[in-house]
Every structure is written in C-alpha cells, then in structure tokens.
Symmetry: C2
Subunit: 210 residues, 2 copies
DNA sequence: TGAAAAATACCGTGTTTACGGGATTTTATT
DNA sequence: AATAAAATCCCGTAAACACGGTATTTTTCA
C-alpha cells in the first residue's frame, strides 16, 4: 500500500481549521499529521521534514504566512505549500508565487478544490482556485501584443535603452555616432507613441516587442 | 442528473487522439462530443457553442493551435481551452496563457492529469502539468523581492516616475515643489542602487516594490 | 519630551534628453 | 536600374536629468 500524503495545517482560526480537517478526512489517500496556529510553532516543530504538503494561511499572529514560505522551504525544499487565505488581492497571490507556493485557494471556495489541489500538487503541478486563476490569466493576458514594426537597428537600440543606459553609451556599444542613436530613438518614440525613455522601456517590457 | 461536460478534441495524431478518447471515457461525468484534426475543421463546425472544454494540440496542419485560441474564444467565450502538446517551451506556454488558455498539459504526462484538469477547469480554475507549473513558478520567482524600504512618499514618487512623466509633472500631481521631488528621486536612486529613471522604473516593475 | 526619520525646499553645475530640421549612404526590393 | 526603406550623420535649442550640497519643518515613536 502507498504511503499516505502527509499534510500539515497552519491556521489560527480554529473553526475553519476544523472544517479543513474534516475535509481532509474524506480524502482517503491523505492524512493530516499536524496542526499549528502560527508559523513559529510549525517552524519549531520537527514535523516539517516528513510532510508532503503544507496548508498555510496568510493572516497569522507573528510571522505572516507569505513571509513564512521561504523559511518552510529552507527546512524542507520538497514541501508543497498551498496557501489557503481569505485574501484575494493580486499582490498576495503574486507574492505567494514569488515565494514558491504551489497553489492558492480562497477560503470561500477551498473545500471544492482541496482534494484536487492536494492530488495535483502531489503530481508536481500547481493549482489556483477560480478567482486566483483569473488573476494569473489576466496577468499574462494584460498586454495585447503590439503590432508595431521596429527595424532591426531600432530593436537593438530599444533593447539597450531599456537597460537604462544613456544614448551616448548606446552609441559606443553599437559603434555608431550619438546622432544616429538619437535619430533611432526619435523614430522609436514615434512608432510607439511615447514621449520619454521610461515610457519606451515600459512599452518594450510589457508588450514583448523585443 | 447533471449535464455531462461536453468536450471537443482537436488533434491530428490519430493514435494519440484515441488514447485521449479512451481516457475521457473513463471519466463518468464527461463525454467527448466531437473530434477534429484541424482548427479549421473545428471552427467551421457548429459544435463549439455547446462545448464546455476544448482540448487543443499546438502542432496542427493549417492554423496553429495557439493562433486558433482567440478564434475559438471569439465564437464561444465561455469555452475552457486546455492545451495538450508535446512542446514544453516557455514561449509556447506563455503565449497560450496570453491567448487565454486555461491549462497546459504535456502529452507525455497528460493522462495522469486529464481528469483533474477537466474537473478543475470546470470549477473555474486552471491547471498545468508539472513541468509547465515549474515554468510558471520560475517566471514569478525570477526576481528576489527587494529588501529595500522606501518611504510612503518615495513610493508615490516612484509610482509616478515609472509612468514616464517628468519630475516637474510629478511635483504638480503631488502638489509639492520640484526640488522636493528631486530630493525624493535622489534618495530612491540611492536606495535602489540605480543611476537613471529607466533603471529605477525597471527595478520598480520587476521587483514588485510597489 | 527628545531623538530619529521623513518630508519639505532651494541652489548650482554639468550632462542628457526631446525634438525640430536637414542630409547622405547603404541595403533591400521589384 | 529605379525606388523605397533603413541606417547613418550633423546642428541647435529648450527642457529635463543627475547629483552634489545644505537646511527647515513635520511626523513618528521610544
């Protein structure tokens, strides 16, 4: 028989934690091995290294859940962390992803997804509940790819421009005169409909024009 | 009884399509309603508007799967598109997401995830198979969050700076003098270790400091 | 209440930008 | 061979930037 998936729960709201526990009980291949009410408690325990999944709240007394992620991963890099929070702000989601979370479920609809999330994460995947998935999608979708056509040289110039160096330095790097760079930049601005170096760099970054 | 999930498959490799079909047969709540070997065929059919899920290959004769996504969504915006491809390149994944795909499974391991993916996508979520999930994670993770602390005012200034407007305009917007903005900008540059407006904007964008 | 941090403001100088104009050479493209 | 597109270069000017310094007021917090 396969070993059961070992789950740790870090949640300070006891009634919600109980709901999660009963939800996990109904998943035959999983078992809740430990439960803590703060990151500190969990970090000081010795149960992390045996666990497969960590269900983590964000709003916690002491160390914030998001801040806790790197600390948990330091102790056990194999740990699959799934955030379960009431917070549905973009910044929380993206920070969680940056920190290395494998999933983000909202408390309001996590029971529908918990089983799926556990299975999927154990298979190496990642999972978001709908509202969070929409944010990820929006994040990637946000800029319709620009139809503007820059010439080869203009692309080279823009690529350097967006690193933040001066036109003089660009001229040196491309072994052309300052005047030439200036001309290219002028044309780039016209094509991108911008009026400053920062705006050009921004458009370049966001639209994947380069 | 609930209506079954209606699935359409667009795949030109017949033997692989057969495998997918038999996999779907084993999911009681789903049914494969149509199968096409190209985007054109599927687009010309009248089955799209009734479908819930479209399983879509990328390498197809004629219209490429990724190019097909917006066309499918134009006909039926509610369609949940899951890419099933052999291609595991970042660019394909991100383009798929930009186009509006709800999932990305690799052919090499899609059978393990297909059932989960269908369920999850129907719940409004999204799903990636492990290698793809890792890419998404890497994408978000690439910039270690800056530990730099900017003051409230500095953040406001930086937020405006990265829109590409001049310091003079920033002063007007914040109703402070140019000299004050200049001071803030100087301090921001020092804290971020940059030497130009473009670099500051870049750091601000990439590190999620704001 | 007292010290530290933050926000405010000004000056001066050399550098860089934005942008108008015009002009020549090189490189496709047909 | 002819035309268009791209790449090269220069001039001039007003505005904006980077950066050094100094200094006052306001806020915060121990």
């Amino acid at each position: 028989m396969e070993k059961k998936v070992q789950i740790i729960l870090v949640e300070d709201d006891m009634s919600f934690a109980d709901n999660v526990k009963s939800c996990i009980k109904e998943i035959p291949e999983s078992s809740l091995c430990q439960q803590y009410i703060s990151c500190e408690d969990a970090l000081n325990s010795n149960s992390l290294s045996d666990a497969d999944i960590l269900l983590l709240d964000i709003n916690l007394p002491g160390i914030d859940g998001l801040e806790g992620i790197p600390r948990f991963l330091q102790i056990n890099p194999e740990l699959n962390i799934i955030i379960i929070s009431i917070l549905n702000h973009d910044s929380k989601l993206f920070k969680a992803l940056q920190m290395g979370a494998k999933g983000y479920l909202l408390k309001t609809d996590c029971f529908m997804h918990l089983k799926t999330a556990i299975q999927e994460v154990m298979l190496g995947g990642m999972l978001f509940s709908p509202q969070m998935a929409a944010k990820v999608l929006k994040y990637f979708k946000r800029k319709p790819l620009l139809k503007v056509k820059l010439t080869k040289r203009e692309k080279e110039v823009l690529k350097l421009l967006k690193t933040g160096i001066s036109k003089k330095e660009i001229a040196t790097k491309l072994q052309i005169s300052y005047g030439t760079v200036d001309s290219h930049v002028k044309n780039i601005y016209k094509k991108l409909h911008v009026k400053s170096n920062v705006q050009a760099a921004k458009v370049a970054m966001e639209s994947g024009i380069i």
